[in-house]
């Protein structure tokens, strides 16, 4: 069977199954919103007088609430069907299935989702950088009145030093963009040098402070760790907890020293250093095994979350949070009976 034929069959099967699902019970994949009327009293100032600003917001709500409200009053306007969120749900389900389809092999659906995520994520981080950094810092210093009047009224007026610094930042930023120009790209090395220098200066401090010093201090542990009974401090050490805690500290100190010995390449790994390095390798293998187990757990948790999205939010086959009134199992039961 040709791959293209396979995909046509797979897509057709999915469409048929989804079509069947849509006819059972309450159907599937619909989103509802709740109307929230906002009203804010605005105090008078130099620009405008006192007024009351009113507007409406629509917040997502469980289908159960919409059904209950409709049942009580079919003409209610507090809850409504949301086209935007429903289309979003279907789109999210499509993207989820498209990415999962790569498990079989590369296909147009996967490549489409891939193209979308490249464009969206590049723009997403650009927008975040613009509103969170450029607007308050750069434009807040260079065009303070505009930013104060339109975006951030709480932004304090910039000092002369801040304005000068932001002009300097703007100049460096523009130099960085020269990298895209056909000639004069070398000028972009100046802002890159600035970024490299600041990063190096910051990293020395942060790594020495929080990694080198803090981790070394945390390794200096008592090799005998007495654990006293919580009921009575007079009854002395608890035998087994004391043994476990002390053993943990001893193993930790030995482990750190042996692993560091393994990473110390200025001495040939022979004799005592060799044996210590060998123990270090054992510790590192355990570390990698634990890291592997942890990574698998994390990915499986994500997988479970995506499957839950498909079965709960999209297909309405499960309802762990009790968001809907009629569950699909009872709907199928009533159809069969």
């Amino acid at each position: 069977m040709k791959p293209s034929k396979t995909w046509v069959i797979v897509v057709a099967v999915i469409v048929v199954l989804v079509g069947i699902r849509m006819t059972i019970g309450q159907g599937m994949a619909r989103a509802y919103v709740e109307r929230v009327d906002q009203s804010v009293e605005v105090k008078a100032n130099d620009i405008h007088g006192a007024s009351t600003e009113k507007w409406t917001e629509w917040h997502p709500v469980a289908p159960k609430k919409f059904e209950a409200a409709q049942k009580a009053d079919p003409s209610q306007t507090k809850f409504a069907f949301s086209w935007a969120n429903t289309i979003g749900l279907w789109l999210a389900a499509f993207f989820t299935l498209a990415i999962f389809s790569f498990l079989y092999r590369d296909n147009p659906g996967y490549r489409l989702a891939e193209a979308v995520i490249i464009g969206v994520s590049a723009a997403y981080w650009g927008v975040i950088g613009f509103w969170d950094t450029l607007v308050p810092k750069l434009f807040g210093a260079l065009t303070p009145n505009l930013i104060h009047d339109q975006v951030l009224p709480s932004l304090p007026a910039p000092t002369t030093g801040q304005v000068v610094a932001m002009y300097f930042a703007l100049a460096l930023g523009l130099m960085l963009l020269m990298r895209l120009a056909p000639k004069g790209g070398w000028i972009s090395l100046w802002p890159i040098a600035f970024i490299i220098g600041v990063t190096a200066g910051l990293k020395i401090v942060s790594h020495v402070e929080s990694d080198l010093v803090a981790q070394s201090i945390a390794t200096f542990k008592p090799l005998v760790q007495p654990i006293v009974s919580p009921e009575s401090a007079q009854s002395g050490w608890m035998l087994w907890p004391t043994i476990w805690a002390s053993l943990a500290n001893i193993l930790l100190v030995i482990g750190v020293l042996c692993c560091l010995t393994y990473f110390f390449f200025s001495v040939e790994h022979k004799g005592v250093a060799g044996r210590a390095a060998r123990v270090g390798i054992m510790y590192l293998m355990i570390t990698f095994g634990a890291a592997f187990g942890f990574t698998v757990m994390g990915r499986v948790a994500l997988l479970a979350a995506r499957i839950e999205f498909l079965f709960d939010d999209w297909l309405w086959l499960i309802d762990p949070a009790g968001k809907r009134i009629v569950e699909v199992a009872s709907a199928i039961g009533s159809m069969l009976c």
């Binding site: 906002q38 989820t96 590049a122 703007l170 220098g197 692993c259 634990a290 187990g293």
Partner: protein, 231 residues
């Protein structure tokens, strides 16, 4: 000149950041340099956007294989950028309702928030979820308990995996209280707190030493590889 000026910029910027930690008098200077750094880093996104547009437009104009996907990338990029920068659909801010641009960019009801919720999150989380299959598949093919190191790695992975599931609790629940440390759920915690901490700590200390040495080489002008070999 083309290499000397950047080298001195890196040295001065780095030492300003370094000294601002140790001398309170230079603390504000360090903060200012940090703010300039943040702004330059944010402008670097424009460079990234320009580069993305350049590469994809070239692909489209040459009608390369898969140029349609390049077009989709650019369209999605442009739409997200426009709705994000324009705060389209963003409700008014309750704090400053008269200001048109004061609402949160990703607030409920905004198109930017919609794109984040229904495109960015599903695709990225599914891509990471996909790794569960590939990690398992790679492990199945690569992991062989042929020596002590491999046995340690495999058994630790199994203990950590089992210790965090109900199966681990059931399998070793029969152990008496005095040996409760050997129950899988406790033993996996013990492994994480002792062996894993020891190994990770040594790795972290090693990385810290490496980063410090590399940073010092840059700040002293010894390492200039970051400038590249071109003009």
């Amino acid at each position: 000149m083309k290499r000397l000026v950047p080298m001195w910029i890196a040295i001065i910027a780095g030492f300003v950041m370094l000294l601002s930690t140790f001398f309170p008098i230079t603390e504000s200077l360090g903060e200012t340099v940090g703010e300039i750094f943040n702004v330059v880093a944010a402008i670097a996104f424009v460079l990234g956007a320009g580069s993305l547009a350049k590469v994809n437009l070239a692909k489209i104009s040459r009608r390369d294989q898969g140029w349609g996907y390049a077009a989709i990338t650019l369209i999605c990029f442009a739409i997200t950028l426009v709705v994000g920068l324009g705060k389209i659909g963003v409700p008014q801010s309750t704090q400053f309702p008269l200001l048109g641009w004061s609402g949160e960019k990703d607030a409920e009801g905004s198109i930017f928030g919609w794109i984040y919720e229904f495109a960015l999150v599903p695709i990225t989380s599914t891509m990471f979820a996909l790794l569960a299959f590939y990690v398992a598949s790679a492990a199945f093919r690569a992991f062989r308990a042929k020596n002590l190191e491999a046995i340690l790695l495999l058994s630790t992975a199994f203990i950590v995996l089992l210790g965090r599931t109900f199966a681990g609790v059931v399998l070793t629940g029969w152990l008496p209280d005095w040996a409760s440390g050997l129950r899988l759920e406790n033993f996996s915690v013990y492994i994480m707190q002792v062996f894993n901490t020891a190994g990770n700590r040594a790795i972290i200390i090693g990385i810290a030493l490496g980063v410090t040495a590399t940073s010092l080489r840059i700040l002293l002008g010894v390492d200039r590889s970051w400038m590249g070999s071109g003009d």
